[in-house]
């Protein structure tokens, strides 16, 4: 419901919200520190107290509970919400179950390295080196999988990093829990429910019911440990209150103590209790699951009843609510992931991408935009922080143009956020995956762009990241790749010189692609099996629909809907490569296939090869120009990926869902990939997400139309489309054109789009003079980052992205120099 006089809330700025202004300032000053607290406690538990006879869910619950009971209650600043992800103000927790051991060789350098250092004290480094890491030598998910499955080829492909990335070796996370039942019943209420189910199941004598009993016990242990952490927070807050010097601090801390004594154990009564309860549960989830894309979801919907009640009772005003929302936003950004130097290329500068989803429609399909939606948009506009990743859903028949225009204005003002999601197409995409209309309408964004029905859908949306240039090279070189030398990797298909038609080449490409997908799926299934044994999620399961009823953990397929997500890197470059082969080799017969391959081998340098490279780059059909060949190849590739992935069933009984987002991998993988038939030279970047290749799509509408034509049921994992607009001085006029363009793109079928409102010159300047742009936030591919944190490759990618002039609809050519 809408009661605001001004949906832009212009009267509320940071001057009026001094607490947020100060917390924001502090957040920009903080440097990441590695926190070993979790690693220490879980290692101690496993080393000294673990009972291998326990069921996997119970072992996991006890391990996490051991940590949460001992987790230090911290109050690092004047944030009104209690609870911290780590013991540091801006901390990177360690998950030795995954890749924490990659830090081992860098213990002495990680604090001082040039790119994004993460501080680690000498004492903590010693503890990791002597006590913690040695225990984990052969116990990470990947090492267990290696042993269990006897070093299969798929592991080798994964570890070479140039074929696909199997994210389960690093996390599952990537989910949208639902906090509504917790807020209504309290954790104690959920525990009672679990206890009743446990009693029922223990009266049955089957293998299934025995496992259910284990699960219900694990769930109760987990939730109890969150309550224990909240109790520690309450006690600490009370003690700090007693010794605080000024009255205001005493009061705040006393209130926090009261809040933490109440929630999340009991039902939340106020907006503040509800927010703090969610935050403490989010901290609890990160004791169990790594802090990657764990997304709170539709907070404007979940929290609205609490907001409305407080406002109607006169307990809360707009400024007070915005202050609490801002506190929550800043809490969500109190953690980063530990990134070893080797991974900087692939993931550098990323936050942890907890996604918040605003607006859209309710379960009945009616306009769900409410006052809280606008408060949250305004807070996002004011804070301009990397995390949380805020996303706006827009339903072009149910939501108002005023809402659409307001979201557009926030994007122009922040230059980057939120991202825009098309309700009509995305809901249909989830219905296409067998979700009910009502459940699909309750979707929220996970991490970058992936879709899930809130608290019902466990999609492990980042399971596979497939490098599409790998099957392209294998198709050209008969199953080998220049980067891996003479080793036969994929099926031995005919070499380029023997290919006589584009149709034949397309079949060969699909053969290699399907083989690689099979490898990636096998890897994911192997890792999934290890997760079932080693990393169940009884705590996270408490915040989902399904596990409570079925007595099955999420990792055992307990959620209402199950799937695994596979995303793709190099989409536009591979479509353009297919176009180039089809047109230059087969329809125009300008070059023989061998000539093209020789030009690739020579990286388009030297006698004659340069001309071939330029021709391929400038004169062959490009995705994003509405060229019929390009559109056909793009659609064929999307369709083929969809059918192939959907034919697999995962270890939780769900299907695989293709998606097109790339984080920073398009830059990292581009940097190590050879020349491509679209004229891209070796080591150059790939285009991000589903975005056309930079400079290849000179007209905005043609670009949007080509992308939009791919939208719908065949892209259930959604996509990231990056569009860069030249800033304009007249924000009002720009907002109007901006909003109209969104409207048309969505009506054509576009699923998602995100923006950078910045020009070539400014970004070049920011690269050369980072000190002038300490807070410059940019959209990467599905998430935001601070430009200064990005590595050289990624900065280049952002600078050279096609910049469109929204007034003329034309791209401005990039003519800068590095």
């Amino acid at each position: 419901m809408m009661t605001l006089a001004d949906i832009g809330l212009k009267a509320f700025d940071l001057e009026r919200l001094p607490r947020l202004r100060e917390l924001r300032r502090q957040s920009f000053e903080r440097r990441p520190e590695i926190c070993i607290e979790r690693a220490r406690h879980i290692t101690n538990y496993l080393r000294y107290r673990d009972d291998p006879e326990d069921a996997p869910e119970v072992r996991q619950a006890k391990k996490v509970s051991h940590f949460l009971h001992r987790k230090a209650p911290r109050f690092p600043d004047r944030n009104l919400l209690a609870g911290t992800t780590t013991s540091k103000p801006l901390g990177a927790p360690l998950f030795p179950e995954f890749f924490a051991l990659s830090l081992w060789p860098e213990l002495e350098t990680v604090s001082e390295r040039k790119q994004n250092p993460q501080k680690l004290s000498a004492q903590d480094a010693r503890e990791l080196n002597r006590d913690i890491f040695p225990y984990w030598m052969d116990k990470s998910v990947l090492e267990v999988a290696r042993k269990r499955f006897n070093e299969p080829q798929c592991i080798k492909l994964f570890e070479s990093l140039v074929f696909f990335i199997a994210s389960k070796a690093g996390c599952i996370s990537h989910a949208v829990p639902t906090y509504a039942p917790m807020l209504e019943k309290g954790l104690l209420g959920l525990m009672e429910e679990a206890a009743r189910h446990e009693v029922r199941a223990s009266n049955e004598a089957s293998e299934t019911s025995r496992r259910q009993v284990d699960f219900y016990q694990a769930l109760q242990i987990s939730l109890k440990s969150i309550i224990a952490y909240a109790a520690n927070l309450a006690e600490e807050a009370a003690q700090l209150s007693a010794i605080a010097e000024d009255a205001a601090s005493r009061q705040e801390l006393a209130e926090m103590a009261a809040v933490c004594r109440r929630v999340p154990a009991n039902p939340a009564r106020t907006f503040r209790e509800a927010l703090n309860a969610i935050w403490i549960c989010q901290v609890g989830i990160h004791a169990e699951n790594i802090n990657m894309a764990m997304s709170p979801g539709r907070l404007d919907q979940v929290l609205y009843p609490y907001y409305r009640r407080d406002v109607d009772a006169g307990r809360l005003d707009i400024a007070g609510a915005m202050e609490l929302i801002g506190c929550f936003w800043l809490k969500l950004s109190d953690n980063v992931i530990m990134v070893p130097e080797a991974s900087e290329e692939m993931f550098g500068g990323a936050g942890t991408v907890p996604a918040i989803t605003l607006g859209g429609v309710d379960a009945q399909g009616n306009d769900a935009v409410n006052d809280l939606t606008y408060l949250m948009l305004r807070v996002t506009e004011l804070l301009k922080t990397r995390d949380p990743n805020v996303n706006a859903r827009y339903h072009y028949t149910a939501n108002s143009p005023a809402y659409r225009d307001r979201v557009s204005e926030v994007i122009i003002n922040t230059k980057a956020v939120p991202a825009f999601f098309n309700d009509v197409v995305n809901i249909d995409a989830l219905v296409g995956q067998g979700e009910t209309e009502a459940h699909a309408r309750d979707y929220a964004v996970i991490g970058c762009v992936e879709l899930a029905s809130s608290g019902r859908d466990y999609p492990a949306s980042s399971s596979v990241m497939l490098n599409l240039s790998a099957p392209m090279e294998m198709a050209i070189y008969g199953g080998k790749r220049p980067i891996t030398g003479d080793t036969q990797i994929g099926p031995a298909t005919p070499p380029a010189s023997a290919v006589t038609s584009f149709g034949q080449f397309w079949e060969i490409f699909k053969t290699q692609l399907d083989w690689l997908i099979a490898q990636a799926v096998e890897m994911n299934e192997n890792l999934g099996a290890v997760h079932q044994e080693m990393m169940p999620s009884p705590l996270l399961s408490a915040f989902f629909e399904g596990p409570m009823e079925t007595g099955r953990d999420l990792i055992q397929g307990g959620a209402r809907y199950n799937s695994s997500g596979a995303t793709h890197i190099g989409f536009a470059d591979m479509v353009d490569s297919l176009n180039a082969i089809e047109s230059a080799v087969f329809s125009e017969k300008r070059y023989r296939f061998e000539e093209l391959v020789a030009a690739l081998d020579h990286n388009f340098s030297g006698d004659g090869y340069e001309a071939i490279g330029r021709y391929l780059k400038h004169r062959t059909p490009k995705f994003g120009t509405e060229h019929p060949i390009a559109r056909k190849n793009a659609q064929n590739l999307v369709r083929h990926l969809y059918t192939t992935y959907q034919s697999y069933t995962n270890y939780r009984g769900g299907t695989y869902r293709p998606a097109y987002w790339t984080m920073t991998n398009h830059a990292g993988l581009g940097g190590i990939s050879g020349a491509m038939p679209n004229g891209r030279r070796s080591g150059e970047l790939f285009a991000s997400g589903i975005t056309p290749v930079s400079g290849a799509a000179p007209e905005l509408h043609a670009c949007l139309n080509d992308v939009a034509a791919l939208g719908g049921r065949q892209v259930p994992g959604c996509w990231a489309l990056n569009i860069k607009y030249l800033p304009e001085s007249d924000v009002g006029a720009m907002t109007e054109r901006f909003a109209h363009t969104i409207e048309a793109y969505f009506r054509q079928g576009g699923q998602q789009v995100q923006f950078n409102i910045m020009d070539y010159q400014m970004l070049l300047d920011a690269k050369q003079n980072p000190e002038r742009y300490p807070e410059l936030m940019v959209r990467v591919s599905g998430y935001s980052a601070y430009f200064k944190d990005l590595n050289e490759m990624m900065q280049r990618e952002l600078i050279t992205r096609t910049q469109y002039n929204l007034t003329t609809g034309q791209a401005d050519p990039f003519e800068g120099e590095f």
Binding site: E610, Y615, H618, R619, H701, N705, H740, T741, E743, A744
Partner: protein, 264 residues
């Protein structure tokens, strides 16, 4: 020709049937007297340094391309603007296109120099378009002839006829070009005449230097007296004031407003 794209591969020299292309130290050059515009060089060029301006397209194909953007027309309340060059040069095609777009219920605008046969325009186009943006450059026929190489009587006559045949459809637009149209006298005269004709709506188009890069690609010279920078909003505003004074404008001591000169 985009010289910075040229890699001097010589493919265009080889393929040209008229021997109009040669390679020099700065890449390919073209002898425009020999060139027949066949487009072979543009087709063969690997870097798109050679480009043939315009393309052949038939009505159905063009309509198909234009309709792809229908959602944008709907969302913005916009439509198709037919511009140029000069669209009335292809009067039959223009008329046919306007008819098709009218059938598709798409809003249309024609931008024209006004130099066309009124009989042909009213027979082919006038009933099928929604708006006309009509360029007016000068009132004085001699100076118009000097600047554009064409007489302006027919232009003013056409404007009057359009206003009579479909009142309200035509909007005069005056490009404000320093040294040419941008004089107090010329703009004052135009303003007075438009007022006489009952044309209250008008647009002043600020000068922009886009012509320079185009001229370079066509191996042509631009008049040396034209500025290289676009006209600022402040300057344009002052020309607006001049225009608004219209017929009653008192002769100014200076006939020209200089870019970024302080307002008096």
């Amino acid at each position: 020709m985009y010289p910075d794209r040229c890699m001097a591969c010589g493919a265009c020299v080889e393929i040209c049937p008229d021997n109009a292309v040669a390679t020099g130290p700065k890449g390919a050059t073209i002898d425009r007297k020999r060139c027949t515009g066949c487009g072979e060089c543009a087709r063969i060029c690997p870097t798109a340094a050679r480009e043939l301006v315009g393309q052949w397209i038939d009505l159905d194909e063009l309509v198909e391309v234009l309709l792809r953007d229908r959602p944008y027309y709907t969302a913005s309340g916009g439509g198709v603007t037919l511009s140029g060059g000069e669209p009335t040069v292809q009067m039959d095609f223009l008329g046919a296109l306007l008819r098709r777009l009218r059938e598709e219920e798409i809003h249309t605008v024609v931008e024209t120099s006004g130099y066309f046969s009124m009989a042909a325009f009213s027979a082919n186009c006038l009933d099928h378009l929604d708006e006309i943006f009509f360029d007016i450059k000068m009132l004085n026929p001699d100076r118009h002839m000097d600047a554009t190489g064409r007489p302006n009587e027919v232009i003013w006559r056409n404007l009057a006829a359009l206003q009579k045949l479909r009142p309200g459809v035509v909007t005069p637009r005056v490009p404000v070009i320093p040294g040419y149209t941008a004089t107090v006298r010329n703009l004052g005269e135009i303003a007075a005449r438009l007022k006489e004709m009952g044309l209250r709506r008008y647009t002043l188009l600020p000068y922009h230097p886009f012509g320079f890069s185009k001229a370079k690609r066509l191996d042509r010279q631009m008049p040396a007296d034209l500025p290289q920078t676009p006209m600022g909003a402040e300057t344009l505003k002052r020309w607006h004031d001049v225009f608004r004074k219209g017929a009653g404008a008192t002769p100014s001591t200076a006939d020209v407003i200089r870019e970024s000169a302080p307002a008096n």
